[in-house]
Symmetry: C2
Amino acid sequence: MRIIVDVMGGDHAPLETLKGAYAASKELNASFILVGDRNEIDRIAEEQGFDLRRFDIVHTPVVMTMEDDPLSVVRAKKESSMSVGLHMLADGKGDAFVSTGNTGALFTGATLIVRKVRGIQRAAIGTILPTAVDPCVLLDTGANVTVTDEQLEQFAVMGSVYARKMFDMRSPSVGLLNNGTEDHKGTPLQIAAHQRLKACDSICYIGNVEGSTVPLGACNVVVTDGFTGNVFLKTMEGTSKMILKALKGALTKNGITKLSALLLKSSIQEMRHKFDASEYGGSPFLGISKPVVKAHGSSDARAFCNAIRAAVTYAESGVIYDIAEEAEGFLARRRAEREEQAANAQSEISAGGGEA
Amino acid sequence: MRIIVDVMGGDHAPLETLKGAYAASKELNASFILVGDRNEIDRIAEEQGFDLRRFDIVHTPVVMTMEDDPLSVVRAKKESSMSVGLHMLADGKGDAFVSTGNTGALFTGATLIVRKVRGIQRAAIGTILPTAVDPCVLLDTGANVTVTDEQLEQFAVMGSVYARKMFDMRSPSVGLLNNGTEDHKGTPLQIAAHQRLKACDSICYIGNVEGSTVPLGACNVVVTDGFTGNVFLKTMEGTSKMILKALKGALTKNGITKLSALLLKSSIQEMRHKFDASEYGGSPFLGISKPVVKAHGSSDARAFCNAIRAAVTYAESGVIYDIAEEAEGFLARRRAEREEQAANAQSEISAGGGEA
């Protein structure tokens, strides 16, 4: 297993990404190609006492920033670590690519350079959420702000495949994020998608789910458009921060609460870890033909190391192979539908001709 | 001040609604008209030892259920407590109406029976959110699943008026809920609304805000469509429950943590109260010409009493008067735009005529 690591981009790159990659290289049974500014890498390695002989290093002078237009990954910034790394993945020079850079650019690059699985209309970002019970995968968490009901069906199937392999479940439950559980709830998109998902054989669809029950473990896969998914994910993050901040306030209020806080320390730390998104590492781009994993932009060394571990697990899991199989099914159904439409049109013409 | 109270509908009606109304009648300087099933009201009053002489009671034999079609409030279920209560408000028999029933029906009834403020295109449900700092009003939290950018502008103005009066603020900050803070973020709706809000003189617009910062107190008013607003609100609710559940687990883990929990009891209860949505009472329908307040469907007596208190405060605040003034401004701007367009068209015709 060879992992291509973009050490540039992100809020704390290249220091934290390099530290994360170094930690991963000691822990994981994989080899690593670091893509980034060679001078920076050398400087940090010397500072931190890292032995670079364990890495292949590809020097790239250009960095993709958070402000860059997504399309610059295939245009003005072809020499960036992100673009070079994605091309290496596409050319088979590694088995997975991990980056903490500009999400839009990474997604555009993955779609245009690495390419989608045949039959998948849109790839989606799948993010694992902490819940009160089992973890749950939410997709799309930001790549496609507007989608069709057919694309949501594909997201549901991809999410199911992912949950089956990664959470080791036979038939993960799938819910459609909506503003109520009844059939008529939502915008026209959700109403159409709900009917489509009900009719879909390859998933275990449990119906519409709400933001109030997903964090309590309503289902294993939650499907939504990238706009709503992004708002959902960030609202969970913001609400967690708000409550943990208030908890800190409650624990440091006076001498007695401070004493209690000491006694509770390990128990509360365990709880914090459980709700810390960075524990789950990176988010794979489901529907891309090779493993591309996005680490959170604010990743520190530990979070980036977790993202690299997630990329290895994802690459080894066979998720992409299974998605490709499901996508063949989509294509076959589409072909059958088209043939049926053509046959119907033909018979209408014949019938019309007979009447004339 | 006369408050019309729908005691039917909701998960725990009429027992909890009646208990809530009774508590409110002892606390508030207002008179009350209870609308609902007289037999049920009498039975509960006897059971609970309530003195009903302090109330006017209007008997209605029909109940609007959560499953009823919203339009039934003006069609099949005109005899329901909700419909009768709304007509009484419209006819000036009371100063505010509070209900815990079917949100869709209540909103439809408010719009069709009580009617909107002149110039307001769509009314919106405004809900107060707990945040780490000041409270914040979110609208729309569920009435309009699809909206236009112009309607979002009206929501922003109504939310500002509300925050100004209710939170006693001179210029509340307004944010547009989005999946990022940059200008180009969101669906075409958010992109258009962002530009429109930037140009709006009557609010203090701070730009796009994210789910990650709203709970931390990013702004005083958050504007969004009813679908996203509902998902946001429920996600905050679900995430709070998830964390408070985990906290309970952490506090009851063993003898030592249980002892600490005892010492922390009052401090943690205070925190729970802060994040309990029912503390903030009901949600007013902003843009309706008279005060209609929705209490949470799962309201217990305390939450329903809080909703009644919110209705009194809202009715006394003058928010509706100020919204009407702002709406006149909208109408004037629209008229000016139309006149300008007509004048332009006229001058084009004249110019065309001159050339011919």
